[in-house]
Symmetry: C4
Subunit: 288 residues, 4 copies
């Protein structure tokens, strides 16, 4: 209780790192909008004709978003208890990398090639996807995918072997300097495009034997396509029976998220957690 | 009971807006046939060689269907209790837009470009798909898709991020004015065709590094393809255990559909509903 | 019991139309082999280089298979109780059509174009797939597909509307005589190749707006792909709990198949059925 | 108990053929690394530019791996009880074939074409995939696929018929010497690429009728795609309820794997098995 009235830093922490209060949600919405807008600016700037016409305006927008993200980065560093620990965490590094290129290219114009690093900003949306309204579904999906991790790994190694053996077969049957199957890696690339049913069409078997092998590859690939679907689906059906309500409560010491509503200490580092706060809390307070 | 003998307007309402009586079903069948025929006329007319030969005949058909749909639109306006409310509803606007272009191009020949609006007629089939015989399956499917709405939204945002990051990677690796990857948006378009396993083949990686990244993109896309299937399938399996019989009963005040067989008041606006009428009702009457 | 010793016609009937005895299975295996071999002959004969070299030999084989199938057709007519009824049934017509072309092209050489009708022989394999060893799985699959028939129909009509609307959109955006989108039907064809993720690549959007619409089409198609899978999977999971053993018993009057082991009368026309006979029956007889 | 202290041959057997001890797992990891590395060498050597520059070095690596695999092959022969029986087993033959080509091309340089046989080494990974950590998932997947074997066979024959009938239809409609549909086999190859949604794009219908048939083929193929997924998924969901812990214990007489932890005799040939040994066993021993 004492920790909760700890002033503006804690207030800020709840707004920036959590999403169960109204202010926290607004912050997340605005940040997602800013990320999407800034990525759109980078993408538009890469089109030669648009760069020629509106390059200067887009450059101005870019500086605006860089300043906004710099302020946000500073605010994050200020409101956590251990700034250096945050700065070295996964999202801390991404936050830093996504503002660095604009400054770097200002001081050293030769570093312009780095500007595409700015698209790393998109990865930050994953953190924000934990918007209160969607956190349940997000956690369920992530859990189902994580639970089928090992089976998918085995499945991928079977596909890898299949693809190498098939690609080599076609290299032996069709290969040669004048054909499209110039080397085994190229043939394996063809096998991957075929088994995944993408089928670009730049490399194709021309002989009857090659086409027969390709047909078998396609049918096998088709049957195999059923396996990852089966894995994920059976996992999801199983998960339907073990739902639980999740929060975005975040420990200020170690930044672990997802504590229970009635948790009083961080489940990872044991620090006391401030009282859980959400829209319902406010409503409860209003009632009393 | 009193409301039911309320004359031809209510009779018409049951025929046009509902599909649980024999007359209602005939009306729906005829209307679907007319929509499909009129859309076929528009499509055939767009083929230059056919337009040159049979343009006049097709023009005649077009006027015939326009008049039919105008009469239908007038009948719908007449039999509802609040014509303006219907005119401003989703289907009301579509009904209007699908007859407008033919008249408009008659008075202002310059508006011929609008004629493709007539294809909006197709959207009206969704209303008619609620044919008594299929309404159960339609409602089940719609419910399963609606229940997985949020998960699919999260899934789509993950795919969007994946596609932008991958497209940019290939732009950095292969990009340049002389290659197919001319800008980031083009590269992202390539990434979408690849992840969705469509693979047109007009834009393709040519370097070894680009092909390696493309291979990883395809395999990831393949695994990810399993997720929406898992979502919808687990939802459908769950729905198998909560079936219930549905009707096409429609409130004449607010046009809400799907009231229970024994409902006496609209569940949305509270208006008294006329007695439920279906083939079985007639059979019951015949028995007594 | 009396009917059973009814002579060679009934013996023949059990061998040709059923597959629960050893002789019946051998007959089915031989017939499948003959069908596959005769289809292979037709296919090889269509390759110009092979036709030039081995045309005469293949012609000989063709006559051999035609005579074999003629004898089989005659045997089928002889052993059923109502030959004309069989001749007018679905498989009766196919049996006739698959021997007709060879004779026809002998008497009227101008009818050679009909020879491809011979490939209809393949459809006859569906009847033979009911080999005792696989009949269980075949019936289960067919039942699951039949149970999801209505949902798939609704699904297909939604896809049809989607494809027409999207194709027209691209015709409006990209269409013109010099582009690939020459008419609405061509654009709809493109939309079908895209939504089904086939993506041939001969027709492709070239403008930015066209590509944006195409991207949305692909992602929608991807999500929609999940629906038929969900339908069939949930049906199959449900079927896992209602297995039952099936036979290939066939009524000699109306040719209905699949009667229960202990059925004594045809479930459709009420004719008395001969005693059920299978390998186990023989084994039982040997024991006594 | 007596058999267990039987000396280094049994020790070696447990390390090479099983994967429940620490040494066994290390051996498997090293072997997988060696296989992947040697396959990479073969693939790189097939690229003309790399072969020209680094051919000699890659040749050296190749000899190194061949010697390593020869030693491994000798060790396997030494530690089993019946070397000839092992040499004639599936993996015994593959082990031999994957070292043969390097020696053969040394003595008879004309046999260089055989070197691609070395890629058969990849198949040996399937044996090693039974790494203790993944054996559970591997066995589950294999069991689900094996259980749906018959249904998939029936499914494939339906697809085969569909593909032949559709391919022939397009040959009849579009075929001719100047078109892409030169013969029925080529048309069937096109039908396979279409139904499996690969869609290379080298062979394509050009007429309106051909495109209409192709559209139907795609939509049917799309619906059919749902069937194998349904088969595998329903099988996997069912398997979720019959888990059991598996081992990699291998009989030294007949090389059957997967004996229970407390099995005392081989389930196939009845030979007495040595005591089961795993990391947990060591831990148990340390405790006592």
């Amino acid at each position: 209780m004492v920790g909760r009235e700890g002033g503006w830093r804690e207030r800020l922490f709840i707004i920036i790192f959590e999403a169960d209060t109204r202010a926290g949600r607004y912050f997340d919405f605005l940040l997602i909008a800013a990320i999407v807008a800034s990525v759109t600016v980078v993408m538009l700037d890469s089109i030669p004709s648009i760069h020629a016409k509106y390059g200067a305006i887009l450059h101005g927008f870019e500086w605006f978003f860089t300043v906004v993200f710099t302020i946000e980065y500073a605010a994050r560093l200020m409101c956590v208890n251990h700034p250096t620990r945050y700065a070295r965490s996964f999202y801390g590094v991404i936050d830093f990398l996504s503002i660095l290129p604009t400054y770097a290219s200002f001081f050293y114009p030769g570093l312009r090639a780095l500007v595409d690093l700015r698209l790393l900003r998109l990865l930050r949306i994953f953190r924000l996807l934990k918007l209160a309204a969607y956190v349940d579904e997000y956690v369920q999906l992530a859990r189902a995918v994580r639970a089928s991790r090992r089976k998918i790994l085995i499945f991928l190694s079977v596909v890898a072997i299949l693809v190498v053996v098939n690609g080599t077969l076609l290299y032996v049957v069709e290969g040669g300097e004048r054909t499209a199957f110039t080397s085994i890696p190229t043939s394996v690339y063809w096998a991957i495009t075929t088994v995944s049913t993408v089928g670009f069409g730049d490399i194709e078997p021309q002989t009857d034997l090659g086409r027969a092998i390709a047909s078998v590859t396609m049918l096998i690939g088709w049957g195999i396509l059923a396996v990852p679907t089966g894995i994920v689906t059976s996992e999801m059906t199983a998960q339907k029976f073990q739902k639980e309500k999740v929060t975005t409560r975040t420990c200020r010491e170690c930044l672990t998220t997802g504590h229970d509503r009635d948790a009083r200490f961080c489940m990872h580092c044991g620090t006391a957690l401030p009282r859980y706060e959400s829209d319902e809390t406010y409503r409860d307070n209003a009632k009393n």
